[in-house]
């Protein structure tokens, strides 16, 4: 239901987005950013890497993804050979969402229990409305070399 996503995220329509999956309540954005689609990732009440504390903080999200080989970087610009993720947080600095950059430079997100989407910019899901995800507060990257 594109209209539903567009009503939730006012910047989305301008972000050349497309839906790439069915809805699922079995995984969320953080799992999807980490490359998983079989379980929900969150510091409270869900799976969370043991290397990170079960606190709903940006630092905990950085540590969770550090365990996957990511490290903080300056921005979300496409860098050949690197995969990037973005951490979003609300006005209080509490994480709300994560997105992952594709080799094409597009971003991919799982919107809660809704669909996976591809969107042109990380700002496509940003905003401080009742349903938007706040702003990107940190970008992380890791080498795509195995």
């Amino acid at each position: 239901m594109p209209a539903r996503l567009e009503s939730l995220f006012s910047n989305l329509k301008q972000a050349n987005y497309k839906i790439t999956s069915e809805e699922s309540r079995w995984y969320n954005c953080t799992a999807f950013a980490a490359g998983e689609t079989h379980r929900w990732w969150w510091p409270i009440g869900a799976y969370w890497p043991e290397q990170a504390p079960r606190h709903e903080t940006i630092e905990s999200f950085i540590l969770a993804f550090r365990a996957l080989g990511y490290a903080p970087c300056d921005d979300g610009a496409l860098e050949v050979g690197y995969e990037k993720v973005a951490i979003y947080a609300d006005e209080s600095g509490v994480p709300t969402h994560m997105a992952r950059q594709l080799p094409s430079g597009m971003w991919t997100s799982k919107c809660g229990s809704l669909q996976d989407i591809e969107h042109e910019t990380s700002e496509a899901l940003a905003g401080f409305g009742p349903s938007a995800y706040g702003v990107v507060v940190r970008f992380l990257k890791r080498s795509m070399q195995k």
Binding site: L8, E23, R25, W26, N28, C29, T30, A31, H38, R39, W40, W41, W42, I44, G45, A46, Y47, W48, E56, V94, P95, T96, H97, M98, K110, C111, G112, S113, L114, S131
Partner: protein
């Protein structure tokens, strides 16, 4: 949520139940019946005791709250925001009466009811390594429910 019984009616129902319980060792002499009812009304009026509600009301309330909760939290990834949502909290507030409905919903549409189940039952059959895995957490809770006669 509408109350199906007034406090007075509820006290009357308790008195009838005691009278009809042939095997009960509690015998209520006719002379004491009104006294018992008066005391029950006093207790129920002054203490915070959950009053019984009609089963249909419970089911309808649960179905409405569950539908609205799913709709209003569909875009959220934060488990905290999902379970702290007012509709989810109201379902928890319905207490043990809602457990059979939660288990039936879990059977049909596995979903994030685990926080509510843990809050109401004060138990958690989920293995730590299964946290976040909806099918595995569902299986653990349904087994727990079957063992206790909820299903």
């Amino acid at each position: 949520m509408q109350l199906a019984l007034s406090i007075s009616d509820f006290a009357e129902e308790i008195c009838k139940a005691v009278e009809q319980s042939a095997s009960s060792e509690i015998a209520v002499a006719n002379a004491n019946r009104d006294l018992l009812k008066d005391r029950l009304i006093k207790i129920l009026s002054t203490r915070s005791i959950p009053l019984p509600v009609n089963a249909t009301d419970i089911e309808q309330t649960f179905q409405r709250l569950a539908r609205e909760w799913k709709e209003e939290t569909a875009h959220l990834s934060s488990m905290t925001k999902m379970v702290m949502h007012p509709k989810y909290q109201r379902i928890i507030g319905m207490g043990p009466a809602v457990l059979p409905l939660l288990f039936r919903d879990l059977q049909k549409n596995p979903d994030h009811w685990f926080w509510a189940l843990q809050a109401i039952t004060e138990e958690d059959p989920t293995r730590p390594e299964d946290l976040g895995d909806v099918p595995k957490m569902t299986a653990s809770w349904l087994k727990w429910a079957e063992e206790r006669g909820y299903l």
